[in-house]
Symmetry: C2
Subunit: 223 residues, 2 copies
């Protein structure tokens, strides 16, 4: 039976989350560690995408994963079992998002000294996580086909804030009324600079492009 | 072009939301109006389900809909166009949930004097809406097949709180690794009294059962 460490996070004591987030980025820069904040609705495929992605890059960079959830350890266990990389489960104690202080507690728990790239899987929620800077170097979101192409209209901030929008479950396109072109236009309306990559974490389609994206970002960061 | 009224809600001034929610239920009881709070992840099919449901009951009871969203009017417009019943759009001004005071503002806006049954479509979010009593008579949630059967493990409170769990998009069962029996067991683990109804809002399957459920609840309420 796999086991992962679980940490119960506490609400941050810091009044100024933005300052705390900037301080965390300096801390990571000093240590050469690149942190990615991954957001999505519940069930959009964060863990499945991370699994496929990590298996395609783990021989090139040292990857770690922090899985945040209200409750349960299923995601960290799944990452540990299916990728073998270092992972840790963070429990938010009911909170709907992570802030920079909570993220720092997670980083202290996982021990970043032997890592290059860390993925923070945020709580499945399109609203609250977008409102708090976690201190990550990059904000990434996953939208999945079954959710519908109108989501950028209804949850503007998370699209506005994301450097990369991964559109997952494209293998399910034939079964849903999802207008891909319309969706891309809506995303660009919120954030004209967003990179958009369509994938299927299930079939593996597009995972190579996501891998290249992160390896490039990491390379730029280390330069 | 359809038009619907839009109200921007403000954070409630009431310190005690539970007391405010009880007061709202008394207010509704006095007026013979039954209020249903509908929760789900983004894209689980709240609006599509409501559309199919309302079209099957609107000749029997007087129905109204309050569509809450961070932004956009697409849902209230869609309900107005596809059902013809009275609908109103509520904007939460960035907030991730509704509380009882915000719900009361919505009810004042839609005018409940000619209604029997009102559906409040909460913000698409499995975390925050479950934490605040809206003052509704019934809490209902939709889980959709593409989200996965493990959601009751990861978002316990919303399952614990819901009187009815609708499992939507069952037409998509063949395309996803969703273990229906496991999901039902997980839901019962959180809430042994929950009613569970599988449906496809797209094909109409199961909508008659959901309609009967609400008509019975309304009948009991009016007795």
């Amino acid at each position: 039976m796999e086991e992962v460490r679980t940490i119960l996070l506490h609400r941050s004591v810091y009044a100024d989350n933005d300052a705390e987030a900037d301080a965390l980025r300096s801390y990571l820069k000093d240590r050469g560690v690149f942190l990615v904040n991954l957001m999505s609705s519940p069930g959009a495929g964060k863990t499945t995408t991370l699994t496929a992605l990590i298996n395609s890059i783990k021989n090139k960079v040292r990857v770690g994963v922090m899985e945040a959830d209200i409750d349960s350890d299923v995601d960290a266990l799944s990452i540990a079992k299916n990728t073998g990389v270092k992972s840790i489960q963070l429990h938010t104690g009911g909170m709907c998002h992570l802030d920079a202080g909570m993220t720092k507690s997670g980083l202290d728990g996982i021990d970043i000294s032997d890592l290059d790239l860390i993925f923070l899987e945020n709580v499945g929620n399109l609203v609250c996580p977008a409102e708090f800077d976690t201190g990550a170097n990059l904000d990434v979101m996953i939208l999945s086909i079954p959710e519908g192409h109108d989501k950028p209209l209804k949850y503007p901030l998370v699209f506005q804030k994301s450097d990369l929008v991964i559109i997952n479950k494209i293998d399910a396109l034939p079964y849903f009324n999802f207008d891909y072109e319309k969706c891309v236009n809506y995303i660009k309306m919120r954030n004209k600079d967003a990179t958009i990559i369509p994938i299927s974490a299930k079939t593996g389609e597009g995972i190579d492009k996501v891998a290249d994206y992160f390896l490039n970002k990491l390379k730029q960061f280390k330069e």
